[in-house]
């Protein structure tokens, strides 16, 4: 027996080892039709109502995301539009189960052919709805229960099947199809269950594998591992578990590499609420405040007072630690009604970030004024997104200087925070030294997508969207070098900062400041401690 290595896509992180449970398609045995349309109609109605009632009962036991997912299924079931076609077919003489199955399969086909991955991912929900009603109609033939701690392998798994299993004792999900946007993937991430999707056909020679090793970080699965492979994997797992324990303990301590290099760990936040309950001691400051949250709500663009009070709250929390706030980064994947341009053929290459701010100076000036007023309450830095050429920074600097002068002329408190740029356009990374920036902060998400010409939300090219690619790392190293030559700080605030597989490579570029979401701090600090020098 040789071990089988399969490569898929990571849908939920973590490592797991366990016996394999193969999900079989529950063959619901055919039922005897009554041949009477009125009775068939009544049977289907009762089955739909029964399924909805069963779901309502499940919702009672769940919270948050899981409850929302089940509520979606209930809403679909309670909508007469779903079964309309089935009742028509029954009236024309079809059996209830055949009619229901045909209509749902048609609905499912519609989702399967959707362009948008989020809609394709709803196939699992529709299959779940279809089968739950079929079980009510035909009785019996529920799929085999998933025993705790097992690696569940199959084509796809329904939210109901996931929720019915107990994942507290470990286990993982490995799917030949599936999607990292599926409801099950969301649930798996929330519960810490590793999950790998898109493995391709799972075909076994004679019998299914007995054991599997799952790497939900790398998106790989090894079936029936050789003893040595298994030993190495178990070794890795125990190291990860030990590291987690150490990491939790070391969260409030400053980060040093094994070689003694001090690495500043900053936080990325999207709103002041992200800081609730957090001890500022876990970080060396805030590396990225996304200010878009202020602009997203229905009340229109926020006024200066509203912005000032939010900025001030964040600075107060930081207790003097540096806080980098990014000016409005609208456009691209973040449209704002009344501000961004609708219908651009390629919004990622359009009027977004600093380009949009400079084209709407009245909105931009208001934000700069609020930032300058807040700056007196802490150590504030202001960062401009999507800068490509030095004149964009120069124009923004003039606007900021104007606003500071205007504030003082009015006798109001305000100071001029250092103005830096986000390095996310390859042009800016290649010529970073040409910018008179107070600091550089590398936005690795966009830098990677623009360098590799691959969006990360398009599954088919997700592999290309790799910050560890030498081309992206070279642009990062170049930016670090420019910062060193000009004597200004360089940090990195994209998702790559939290990807501990990249920590070694990132620190090798000379970076000494990484900014991550609060939940990633402990793991990152523990990883930094293993890096040499």
């Amino acid at each position: 027996m040789t071990e089988i290595h399969l490569i898929g896509r990571a849908a939920s992180p973590g490592l797991a080892i366990g016996p394999v449970t193969v999900l079989t398609v529950a063959a619901v045995e055919s039922r005897r039709t009554t041949g009477d349309p009125a009775q068939e109609t009544a049977s289907l109605k009762a089955a739909i109502e029964g399924a909805a009632a069963e779901l309502a009962e499940l919702i009672e036991a769940e919270q948050g995301e899981a409850a929302d997912i089940l509520e979606f299924q209930v809403a679909m079931l309670e909508d007469d539009a779903l079964a309309e076609g089935a009742f028509d077919a029954i009236a024309a003489g079809a059996a209830a189960d055949h009619a229901w199955r045909a209509v749902l399969n048609g609905e499912i086909a519609g989702y399967r052919s959707a362009e948008d991955e989020y809609f394709r991912a709803r196939v699992a929900d529709l299959v779940d709805i279809r089968d739950r009603v079929l079980v009510h109609l035909n009785g019996a033939a529920k799929s085999a229960a998933i025993t705790g701690g097992s690696i569940v392998a199959g084509d796809d798994i329904s939210p109901s099947a996931f929720l019915a299993a107990d994942w507290r004792g470990g286990g993982a999900i490995v799917l030949s199809a599936g999607s990292s946007s599926s409801h099950v993937a969301m649930l798996a991430r929330a519960r810490g269950t590793p999950m790998v999707v898109g493995l391709g056909p799972l075909s076994w020679q004679d019998r299914p594998p007995a054991l599997a090793l799952v790497d939900g970080d790398a998106g790989t699965v090894i079936f029936d591992p050789e003893p040595e492979t298994r030993r190495l994997f178990e070794h890795r797992m125990s190291a990860v578990n030990a590291a987690r324990a150490v990491a939790d303990a070391g969260r409030v301590k400053p980060a040093f590499t094994a070689g003694g290099r001090r690495i500043a760990v900053l936080l990325n936040i999207a709103a002041p609420e992200d800081l609730a309950g957090l001890d500022p001691a876990i970080c060396d400051g805030i590396g990225l405040v996304r200010t878009e949250f202020l602009f997203g709500a229905s009340q229109g663009l926020p006024d200066e007072e509203a912005q000032y009070s939010v900025y001030r709250r964040i600075l107060d929390w930081a207790e003097g630690r540096p806080v980098t706030m990014r000016t409005l980064d609208a456009g691209g994947d973040k449209p704002i009604p009344g501000l961004t341009i609708d219908g651009e053929s390629n919004p990622f290459l359009g009027l977004r970030g600093i380009r949009l701010s400079l084209s709407r100076p009245e909105v931009f000036r208001l934000q700069l004024r609020a930032l300058a007023r807040a700056a007196v309450h802490g150590t504030l830095k202001v960062m401009l997104p999507m800068v490509a050429i030095p004149s964009e920074l120069d124009r923004a600097r003039e606007l900021l200087d104007d606003e500071v002068v205007a504030l003082r002329a009015k006798g109001m408190d305000g100071s001029r925070p250092p103005l830096g740029i986000m390095v996310e356009v390859p042009a800016a990374a290649l010529r970073a030294e040409d910018f008179e920036a107070g600091f550089y902060s590398i936005g690795s998400n966009d830098l990677t997508q623009y360098t590799m010409a691959a969006a990360r939300d398009i599954g088919a090219v997700a592999d290309l969207n790799d910050t560890g690619n030498p081309a992206v790392l070279a642009l990062i190293a170049r930016t670090v070098e420019a910062g060193r030559a000009r004597g200004v700080e360089v940090s990195l605030c994209g998702d790559a900062a939290a990807d501990v597989r990249l920590t070694n490579a990132l620190l090798a570029t000379g970076l000494t400041t990484l900014s991550v979401s609060p939940i990633a701090v402990a793991r990152l600090k523990a990883t930094i401690a293993t890096v040499n020098p």
């Binding site: 909508d79 539009a81 519609g110 809609f119 997203g296 709500a297 704002i336 009604p337």
Partner: protein, 104 residues
């Protein structure tokens, strides 16, 4: 244009229309659809959505039909309402879209 005439005649039973961009991260999918239909069902008015100003129009009270529209993030969503509480209905559904269905 039809839209302009419609809003001028807001006291009659001529349908009123409005539009808004879907700003929530994943478009009008599962949870947003449920929220939209729950909101729409609070009103007696007929409420319909479309991806183009001239339809085809879809009943905003049916989650099954709303999901079939498969409106992606960033899409312009058009609303058409008719009924005595149409103004309030339109305001409510627009607020929901502007707020990103609470998940933006």
């Amino acid at each position: 244009m039809h839209d302009a005439n419609a809003s001028r005649a807001s006291k009659t039973l001529v349908p009123r229309t409005a539009s808004a961009v879907l700003v929530n991260p994943v478009g009008l999918h599962a949870r947003p659809s449920v929220k939209l239909t729950q909101c729409a069902k609070n009103f007696a008015a007929k409420i319909e959505i479309a991806l183009a100003p001239d339809g085809p129009w879809t009943d905003a009270k049916s989650p099954v039909k709303v999901m079939r529209v498969k409106a992606p993030q960033g899409a312009m969503l058009y609303f058409r309402v008719a009924g005595s509480d149409g103004d309030a209905a339109l305001a409510a559904v627009l607020a929901l879209v502007h707020d990103g269905f609470g998940e933006a």
